[in-house]
């Protein structure tokens, strides 16, 4: 298989996915400050998060120091990310598949990182023993990732198709996403057992990516696997599967955002309140000229059509 073609695909996939992912992330981050909509439990509430309490439980809370614990947030997210705690507690039937699948993804990402580390070692002519160790570790992670990922994604595909609770909500893209993931892991599994020194071969490919110098040959199973991964990587940021980014915002900026108003926030809020409103219901009559302050402070008459 042509290594040059794969390299060009790889650069394209990396650039496209990085740019689109960055664009979508920045777009979410730049959305205006919203009204508070926190939801207990908020894990950073020191000494209270275990039962879901907040600083609003304190008598005259505005006179007290608000103690916050980043560590509690980290522990909460770690349980959620690696153990899928929420699914375990609320959707036990789905959990085995989603647990296997997600941990397959994490292991694959960790293995990919090790492959690039080994590539750097190859470039820098590292002593053999650390290189061997890195490659051995990558091998273990890769086989584990492929096994878990194949079982998980295939299980999710079947579950999505068979479960009457899930099926009405499926769309073509639901199946497409899962089929792609089955192919990503399944092709990896096939390539792994078809290629001797699998990790080393991957290391060579990574080296060629870093040094911009194509290898002479990549085996068809491995090349096919890399191609499928690249297709998935390019497709990923256009889908809801980037919820790993969105989740940061849904948790930190919405559920756990219990920050009282600050001076900086007040400035932003003043700007937002100065924006024109064009809602057209009779009790609002936004004409696109009145702003939020005008709207909220005006004395109005009800002209809403009475209901029966």
């Amino acid at each position: 298989m042509s290594a040059l073609v794969l390299m060009i695909c790889a650069y394209a996939a990396i650039v496209i996915s990085t740019v689109v992912l960055a664009f979508r992330t920045v777009k979410i981050a730049q959305m205006p400050v919203h009204l508070r909509w926190e939801l207990a439990p908020v894990p950073h509430e020191k000494g209270k998060s275990a039962y879901g309490g907040s600083y609003l439980e304190e008598y005259e809370w505005w006179t007290r120091d608000h103690e916050s614990s980043i560590m509690n947030e980290v522990i909460y997210m770690a349980k959620e990310i690696f153990l899928l705690k929420g699914v375990w507690e609320n959707n036990r039937g789905l959990w085995p598949f989603t647990f296997l699948f997600h941990n397959g993804i994490y292991l694959l990402a960790a293995a990919a990182a090790l492959v690039f580390v080994s590539a750097i070692m190859l470039i820098s002519s590292s002593p053999l023993s650390p290189l061997d160790l890195t490659l051995d570790l990558a091998t273990i992670l890769l086989i584990a990732a492929y096994l878990l990922g194949t079982a998980g994604s295939f299980g999710l595909l079947i579950k999505r198709y068979m479960d009457p609770n899930l099926k009405p909500f499926n769309s073509t893209s639901t199946y497409l996403n899962l089929v792609l993931l089955v192919l990503v892991f399944g092709s990896g599994l096939y390539a792994f057992f078809s290629t001797s020194d699998y990790s080393l071969e991957l290391g060579y490919f990574a080296r060629s990516l870093i040094t911009f110098s194509p290898q002479s040959y990549i085996s068809v199973p491995m090349g096919t696997h890399i191609l499928i991964v690249l297709i998935f990587l390019t497709y990923l940021p256009f889908t809801y599967m980037i919820h790993f980014v969105a989740k940061y915002f849904t948790y930190h900026e919405v559920r756990w955002n219990d920050r009282p108003q600050t001076e900086k926030m007040t400035r932003k809020l003043n700007d937002l309140l100065a924006q024109p409103v064009s809602w057209s219901a009779p009790h609002v009559k936004g004409d696109g000229k009145k702003n939020w302050v005008d709207m909220a402070t005006e004395e109005m008459k009800d002209e809403k059509k009475p209901e029966n």
């Binding site: 309490g53 609003l56 929420g86 959707n91 809602w279 029966n308």
Partner: protein, 535 residues
Amino acid sequence: MKKSLKIKDISLNGDAPITELNLDDLLPLPPPYDKIEEQPGWKRITEEQKGRIVCNLDGVVGLSLPRPETPEEEKKYVDLFVTGMQKLLSRENNWTFLQPLLLSLEYCAKCQTCSDSCPVYEASGKNDLYRPTYRSEVFRRLANKYLKPGGKLLAKLNNEEIELNWTTISRLYELAYRCTMCRRCAQACPMGVDNGLITHELRKLFSQELGWAPRELHEKGTMLQLKVGSSTGMSPKVVKDNMEFIDEDYSELTGFDVVTPWDRKDADVLLIHNAGEILSWPENPAAFTILLNAAGISWTLASDDPAYDGVNYGLFYDDVQLARIALKHAEVAKKLNVKKIVMGECGHQHKALMTIADRILLGDMNIPRESSMTFLENLVFSGKIKFDPSKNDFPVTLHDPCNIVRNLGIVEPQRRILRYLCPQFREMTPHGVDNYCCGGGSGFAVMSQNNFKDWRVAVAGRKKFKQILDAFADQPGPEVKKYLCAPCSNCKGQIRDILDYYGAPLKSGIIYGGLVELIVNAMTDLKEPFIKWEE
């Protein structure tokens, strides 16, 4: 028989309900409420009603939306729905919730992890229509198809077909009022998606663009409050007269000199009750007056409208109305130059004024605001008043109002009071931030048109009723008098209706009331019991 619903069903067969509810399907209740044939059920919609109002969702009608008279009128509303969606997803018109809304619309995995956490879905016998995800998915598909470039083609390719027509929007409007916005589903969602928020935003779209909102929340709710001062219809003069009567009554009943202070400038505390308490549960404001006076607190009520009514139904359906009322509350507090505002025992008042309004009240309007739960805890444990917990030696359980507990994280203060003052206090299962909504949340407690009240009691409140019965399962009979503490006006309204519907005061000996009544009942100086069981 429960029908399996598809998303596109929302647009089909305009006049017929898309699902049917049967008592047999509902969550079973423990004895003596377990016999289906003895359960009241719900009234059927009459032919006359069907001819006049839209009845095409589930055989229940809470909104009385008039049928359009012409196809042009239908089209007008469909077009407004599209412009409403555009505005809902725009920075200018909806900065207030744009980020949470877009995150919830774009990143739902449709894994149904949230479904079983919803008390309405569970109590209905898992009817597909009440899944937290159903209405959200309808809205998501509509927004994708009708707002995004190439949306119609993509909807076809992606097999996400849905039609936007009069049937769709009229059903979606009614369906926006089948969720209590308790946000248990949001807690369960591993992505952090919030289907309660999507319900909230849908209601806003209908209200702020189409001018559609439940009469009880709008005409008789926020509009009445902004015009007269209170959604109860009480003017400043009437509310003062009523409180004067309450003061007189409770002076007689308790032997205390019960005097409620009004409009005291520079008071430490401005207490804002839900005015519904004054009309329906006068013992609650009376208990506050007795307690605060006994503790020597510098406090006042305000007679300027609308600050004698903490209600803010804008929270449930309309950001503009929410902001108007919250600003007026703060203006009065500023005028009186009080040090802080204390929320009465009203859940949605807590959420509206303490947190939601925190990013509306800027500068000197941002007066410190505190929950009555923490305020009362401080007072009870201050040593200023002597208590005798043996006066409360009867079974007591606590209902956690969603807006105080799950939404604000105020969990323990009320429990510390109950553990201290009520020897037989026991928790419901689950409780605290995992509690179940009473079924009256998001304005339902005051909504009773057509057969909606039957639905909100028999379905939306069913899980809560079961929880209440389970909490007293060790002494189920009417011979043991039991107290359900519900420190929220709307929850109390809903619980009153639930208990009445099943005849639970007689069959099970359960009465309900607030927290402050239990505190006053335990005061050593009180000669006669404050809590009246015969009521």
